[in-house]
């Protein structure tokens, strides 16, 4: 079976390979798309990254990541806006389908999460004209509430979609099953996202029991408790037909294995998941 809708988020093999090596390995295994991170692009340079992706005939399902808008002062906010514009430039050159936004948490020393959320809306609003001019959709990724303080104060799909409605065209959501699987309102919000044509990306990995680290203990598809079959069906029924991106941060397990083994496992589990739904 050919994994025609599989994309590999390159964080999944970040400890094993640089961007060119990772892209070439994906191509060898017939994986049609990747999602690189900015530091991986910076490490070999933007031009070399574009060449590696073109040489491999690889699609780019997204680019990770813009965001991180809240700041303690105006200079910090402006720096974030400028940085997001550069991320849009890079995403355009790479041919990415969207720029994923991890919006940022509380500014240093702050306990004002409502204020941080206003900063996020203002920040996205400030870069959105630039994104629209570059035809680069911005994908707000609601992050699990355990990241509300330090990574993203947008923590539910409902909240992300409210933001989209407030901001207008050119912005949508990246739905990562890891971040949203627990949400009692998930089915309704995925349907809402689909009806509004806001689903720009769908990411998967698995929630391990126990989870030993808040950030770096994500599981391979099938090794945890997320109903990825059910969630995938919701996404499909909502009209999303794009890439399904595997993104696994796993310091103690998958980052320690050979990259080829990780990719082959992703393909095998992905194909099993796709087969299960029929």
């Amino acid at each position: 079976m050919h994994a025609t809708r599989l994309s590999i988020n390159l964080a999944t093999v970040r400890q094993q390979w640089n961007l060119r090596e990772a892209v070439e390995a994906c191509a060898r295994l017939g994986i049609p798309a990747v999602d690189p991170w900015r530091d991986q692009v910076a490490a070999i340079g933007l031009d070399a990254s574009v060449r590696a992706i073109k040489d491999a005939g690889m699609k780019v399902s997204g680019y990770c990541r813009g965001g991180m808008f809240p700041a303690t002062d105006q200079a910090g906010k402006q720096a974030a806006i400028d940085d997001n514009r550069r991320a849009i430039d890079e995403a355009s050159v790479l041919g990415a389908e969207c720029l994923v936004l991890v919006v940022g948490g509380l500014p240093k020393g702050s306990r004002d999460i409502a204020g941080a959320r206003r900063m996020v809306e203002d920040g996205i609003g400030a870069v959105l004209p630039y994104a629209r001019a570059h035809n680069m959709p911005l994908a707000i990724e609601p992050l699990h509430p355990m990241y509300a303080a330090d990574r993203a104060c947008v923590n539910t799909l409902a909240q992300a979609l409210d933001l989209c409605e407030a901001l207008g065209d050119g912005v949508g959501v990246a739905i990562d099953a890891y971040h949203v699987w627990w949400d009692p309102d998930l089915a309704a919000q995925i349907a809402r996202a689909g009806a509004a044509k806001r689903i720009l990306a769908y990411h998967i990995c698995d929630w391990l029991v126990p989870t030993r680290d808040l950030l770096l203990d994500r599981g391979m598809i099938g090794d945890g408790v997320i109903d990825l079959t059910g969630t995938g069906a919701m996404i499909e029924n909502a009209g999303y037909a794009g890439f399904i991106e595997v993104e696994i941060f796993s310091a103690a397990n998958w980052w320690k294995r050979p990259g080829d083994e990780v990719l082959r496992t992703c393909i095998e589990r992905f194909n099993r998941l796709m087969a299960a739904k029929t």
Copy 2:
């Protein structure tokens, strides 16, 4: 200043003292209430626990904990119901103001969180007549979504209040700031809980950045990023005038300090928090 509304959840000093020692220490420091855990009561026996609490003139703001309803089979579900009835008996004898429910996560091997949630509703429904007959309010505690798999599949205040409405009288919510602080809908749901007279308990500690363990790295009041002043005001405005319970699981810090130091710090930080609101 006298901490007249302070209660100490005895998990906060569980590594330092048994129940009698903890209650006596609280009494010496003028703390008017505690919330013991079932294993702490079992360790010295129910009768000895009742005596310790009576001897100290201590109020019991709640009893931790019932719940854990989902199970793989009928025998498991019945065992949970039976165990919750025993917890109600104990809570009554102890004079607790409510029995706190940590409702349980996914049954072993399950990925069906919606099913687990139905089991929770069925389980609470099954013990509710017994709780009502004993005049023991059941306090559903929505837990942070990071515990959805293994501790509680009720993860937002909205969800807990929906459950309360479905179940009727004799059930309410225990609101723990640690579990709900991130919720974009928090203010509205606290107001809703107050209007429905469903707030049975209010617990506080703090969210540390970084948080190094999903369960045992909770912070002392004031050491983290939760706006406890603002959340406390919401709770107050919602009409709750009961005890404010400090509950801190802290394997690497507070559980390693002398119990008296922990209690004195709780009192100092609690009084500072109360003063800040005026």
